[in-house]
């Protein structure tokens, strides 16, 4: 429990909600990162705003880590960010573990049309039946995966 801080969590959630609300009411677009990322390649005619959004996403993370240092990982005064190591005893090289995870996430979010932001935030807020199913499935499977691999 040492790392649980409800106020930054709630404040960050409101920021993510405002970001999604702005993109929806301003541009009529769903702030689903897998979708924004997954249609970056030509011939998508909407490459420019997607690139602008993703570059701003990185800059926003970076700027916040300097304005509000020391909330956890990242920025000055924060701990260095690191990716999860493979579960103890699995004898799999870390880059391979990470690569398999990335492939599954890229492929799964493409055919399933969304991730934690597109289905989890925007889809639930739109009361989309597809998103309720997707969110129920990917949260359950992720929780099971952590339980089975013992990665934490």
């Amino acid at each position: 429990m040492d790392s649980f801080a409800p106020i930054p969590a709630l404040a960050g959630g409101v920021l993510i909600g405002l970001a999604s609300a702005l993109l929806w009411l301003g541009n009529g677009r769903i702030a689903g990162i897998s979708g924004i990322f997954g249609q970056l390649l030509p011939p998508a005619r909407t490459v420019i705003w997607r690139l602008v959004f993703l570059v701003a996403l990185v800059l926003g993370t970076f700027a916040a880590s300097w304005l509000l240092p020391g909330l956890g990982v990242g920025g000055p005064g924060g701990q260095p960010a690191q990716l999860a190591a493979p579960p103890p005893g699995w004898k799999i090289p870390a880059p391979l573990w990470i690569a398999v995870s990335g492939l599954l996430i890229g492929f799964g979010t493409k055919i399933g049309n969304g991730c934690t932001s597109g289905h989890g935030v925007c889809g639930i807020a739109r009361l989309s039946k597809r998103s309720f199913v997707a969110v129920g499935v990917f949260f359950s499977v992720a929780i099971l995966t952590v339980a089975i691999t013992g990665i934490v």
Binding site: R29, S65, V146
Partner: protein
């Protein structure tokens, strides 16, 4: 399409991205290990569970829910001619199968696509491996499942 290269449209995308990125840092969802500590429900009885992700996603949904209600009373968003709301409503095998594969990948690393991009700001070791794999996986998926509204609707007919 012309609307999508005008300044107000791109400025909105930029401001949205900035807020989203700031939100991922402030909530610390940018930290994959913190996300994994949420997914570790086995730690609930021992008091080691980190409920943060729930505290992040609920207010985000509430704010977006209000925005969707406001949007339903309008004909169009401010800077484009229509809301790009998905019109595909069937629960199909790609949706469920995709969510299963995403869930496995997410449980392996604690990284979902938003934090994957925002982590570029902090560039941890092996992030490049993850991003290349994410792109390759997404591209492979696009070869199998048509993406975009028109194609999805055509498939549903």
């Amino acid at each position: 399409m012309a609307a999508q290269i005008r300044l107000p449209y791109l400025a909105t995308a930029a401001l949205s991205g900035l807020l989203f990125g700031a939100g991922l840092y402030v909530s610390q969802m940018v930290d994959p290990l913190k996300v994994l500590r949420f997914l570790d429900f086995g730690a609930i009885p021992t008091g080691g569970w980190d409920p943060s992700l729930a505290f992040v996603i609920v207010p985000a949904i509430v704010v977006m829910f209000i925005a969707v209600r406001i949007g339903r009373r309008r004909q169009a968003p401010l800077f484009d001619t229509r809301f790009n709301e998905p019109e595909f409503h069937h629960i199909d095998a790609p949706l469920v199968g995709g969510a299963v594969l995403f869930g496995i990948g997410w449980g392996m690393s604690g990284i979902c696509p938003g934090p994957a991009i925002s982590l570029i700001a902090f560039w941890p070791p092996d992030l490049l491996v993850f991003l290349v794999a994410l792109f390759v996986g997404s591209y492979a998926g696009a070869l199998i499942i048509p993406s975009g509204r028109d194609k999805r609707l055509a498939l549903a007919r």
